[in-house]
């Protein structure tokens, strides 16, 4: 195996200010070219912070970052402003939950896409505009030539999301980061966007990290799933392994408490309690206070990742490791 495209090791992010939050407490991610990783977690689990750290989008004054992030052989945390500007949009691109906030309201969509292409590839405006048109066709925006001259507010939610995808992919990034891009969309539109992302990811051969709180959405787009809790990855593995045979008590609880049709008339197995506040860095397993299997040993030290199957690991001392 050659070195992965994305190699994140022991990433720790602490926010200080009025309140201290230990948002990430040791995250490791390795992603191969063309691979699609779904990060599943609840609010405050650190899933969005992980993506933002990869693009250095966190407020520098209030954030302490430790660990390492390497993407395509480059050390992201060591980049200066120029290198960072080259890297954003060219190597790694990101799409957000709310395109209305991510797009610039005072420029047409065609202008914004062309601007990005000119910045990264140094081509002339006509070529850049042609690329914008190609991208609009790829994301299947109806009457694309006309829509290039539209402003973001003139489009519906689903079309804006498509336009943002076109902008993010215009310079053919190697990695696409997607932060809940379909959460604000209606059900019939959400599935269209998910299928579009899956198709573009495959066609363009790019790697993708897709953050979501919705298990079904993660299943639709991911090759692998990483489950986050309290600023750590608690389980990761192939999508079928994690969904069909979850190992970590949190993943099991999450699957059991996710409502689906067959559960009618039965009582839901809710996980008691609430997610941790992360005001102090958790010294042991951060799920221990809510876990039925917790023992004093769980609070003592951070559990190591244990192999529970082929390429399937869980951070729990109560799960039996697979026979190596």
């Amino acid at each position: 195996m050659n070195s992965p495209l994305v190699d994140i090791r022991d990433l720790r992010v602490k926010f200080s200010g009025q309140r201290t939050v230990h948002a990430l407490n040791g995250v490791d991610i390795a992603l191969s070219p063309g691979e699609s990783l779904g990060i599943l977690g609840e609010s405050g689990s650190g899933k969005s912070v992980t993506l933002k750290a990869m693009l250095r989008l966190l407020p520098p004054r209030r954030t302490t970052v430790a660990g390492s992030i390497a993407v395509d052989g480059q050390d992201v945390l060591a980049m200066n402003a120029d290198t960072l500007a080259d890297y954003r949009g060219k190597t790694v691109s990101m799409i957000f939950q709310e395109p209305a906030l991510a797009l610039d309201p005072v420029y047409t969509l065609g202008h914004q896409i062309a601007e990005s292409v000119i910045r990264h590839e140094g081509c002339d405006r006509a070529t850049a505009r042609q690329r914008a048109l190609d991208m609009f066709e790829r994301v299947r925006i109806p009457s694309p030539a006309r829509r290039l001259d539209a402003y973001p507010h003139e489009m519906s939610g689903g079309m804006r999301q498509r336009a943002m995808i076109a902008l993010a992919l215009a310079c053919r990034p190697k990695v696409l980061l997607a932060d809940e891009p379909t959460t604000a969309l209606d059900a019939t539109v959400q599935i269209q966007i998910l299928l579009l992302l899956r198709e573009l990811q495959r066609e363009m051969g790019m790697a993708m990290i897709f953050v979501t709180h919705d298990m079904g959405v993660a299943v639709e787009v991911s090759d692998r799933i990483a489950v986050m809790y309290g600023g750590r990855i608690v389980e990761s593995g192939g999508v079928a392994d994690v969904i069909k045979s979850p190992s970590h008590p949190y993943t099991r609880g999450l699957l059991a408490s996710t409502v689906h049709g067959a559960m009618r008339g039965t009582r839901l197995e809710a996980i008691a309690g609430a997610p941790p506040s992360l005001a102090t860095a958790p010294t042991g397993c951060s799920f221990a206070p809510r876990c039925r299997l917790a023992t004093p040993a769980c609070e003592g030290a951070v559990p190591p990742m244990v192999g529970v199957g082929p390429a399937h690991v869980a951070r729990c001392i109560a799960v039996a490791p697979a026979a190596a």
Partner: protein
């Protein structure tokens, strides 16, 4: 744009022959004007709710599903009279609002829980005061109101001694939503309107609150109108389900029929747009193309015809009535394909 005749309305055929349904809604209409320009002239109308009929029988849960702009939240607000309907008839246990039911009586019998747990609590009141506020307004003595607030906090799983004197910002989202539920129950209502009440909660907390809602319903003999965009949750909670599209009812019926044998093409599309939970059975094709149309200028005839794979000429020219299905009287569909006399080529073929 005539409202469907009363005979066409899907009322549950239960023992309701003599006792009227808990809530009965007929021909409910709400259009919001859009003003523009410096003179604030009316430039358009949002047809938020446009001729909605339904009943809720005592003790049942009616789930309401639909995409944004379909009018599900507006319907709930109209039932509560938080906004005034333009037209329509609202009855609670057979009594009409404005005629022989005062607004005060209505709000005592019907209460609502909103999606945003923070915005719906007064930030300057402790949570016990928030819960006791309603009863005090309705004449309960201070001490008794507070005792009831404590009792309700305990019922929703929050220790009154440690939580009662806290302010909303000191609670988590799940805890705040429990407070909102307790407050809604403080006036001992018969009907609770739950408008996306669990949608903002994390999955692990959502399950706790759903369990609580199920328990409270049995304990206090409640009736729910459960509005959500989450089809899984609606299936879990509801006895009957109403599917709305752009201000109208597309289909209404028992939960097993809506989820197992829906007849409206929109209901089917909505269900097949649910992400798969099985990695081996991923969705291969989106059931519908495009976004829902704008309710400012909705399509003519059947409002779904612009996105419907089976649309014919009749669909764009005539509004389909919400017709009871011959197989199950509780099941009603507003689609020309389900109406043998509509002239649609697939009418009556059972597709």
């Amino acid at each position: 744009m005539s409202a469907p005749s009363a005979a066409a309305v899907a009322a549950p055929e239960s023992s309701a022959q003599t006792t009227p349904p808990l809530l009965s809604v007929r021909g409910l209409v709400k259009h919001f004007p859009i003003t523009g320009g410096i003179l604030g002239r009316k430039v358009g109308t949002v047809q938020a709710v446009d001729g909605v009929d339904f009943d809720i029988a005592k003790g049942e849960t009616l789930g309401v599903v639909g995409e944004s702009g379909c009018g599900k939240s507006t319907t709930a607000r109209l039932v509560m009279h938080l906004i005034q309907p333009d037209a329509g008839d609202l009855r609670v246990e057979g009594r009409t609002i404005g005629l022989n039911l005062t607004l005060r009586e209505l709000r005592r019998g019907v209460q609502m829980v909103f999606q945003d747990s923070f915005a719906s609590l007064n930030p300057r009141l402790t949570i016990q005061d928030s819960i006791a506020f309603g009863p005090k307004v309705y004449g309960t003595p201070e001490r008794e109101a507070l005792a009831r607030a404590h009792d309700l906090l305990e019922k929703v799983g929050l220790d009154p001694m440690s939580f009662g004197r806290r302010y909303p910002h000191e609670l988590s989202g799940g805890q705040r939503q429990r407070v909102n539920i307790a407050r809604a129950l403080a006036l001992q209502p018969k009907l609770l309107l739950l408008d996306e009440a669990v949608s903002a909660l994390d999955k692990s907390v959502e399950a706790q609150v759903l369990n609580l809602l199920v328990d409270l319903k049995a304990q206090f003999d409640l009736t729910y109108m459960f509005i959500s965009h989450d089809l899984n949750v609606v299936q879990y909670m509801s006895d009957r389900v109403m599917v709305m599209y752009l201000g109208r009812v597309a289909e209404i019926g028992p939960v097993e029929i809506i989820y197992g044998g829906a007849r409206h093409p929109y209901t089917r599309a909505l269900l097949s747009a649910m992400p798969s939970m099985d990695p081996a059975k991923r969705t291969m094709e989106a059931p519908l193309a495009g976004d829902p149309p704008n309710p400012i200028d909705p399509p003519s005839g059947c409002r779904f015809h612009t996105r419907c794979p089976f649309a014919e000429v009749v669909c764009s020219t005539r509004v389909p009535d919400l017709l009871r299905q011959p197989e199950t009287a509780q099941h009603a569909v507003a689609c020309h394909m389900a109406d043998a006399s509509s002239g649609h080529s697939r009418a009556g073929s059972g597709t």
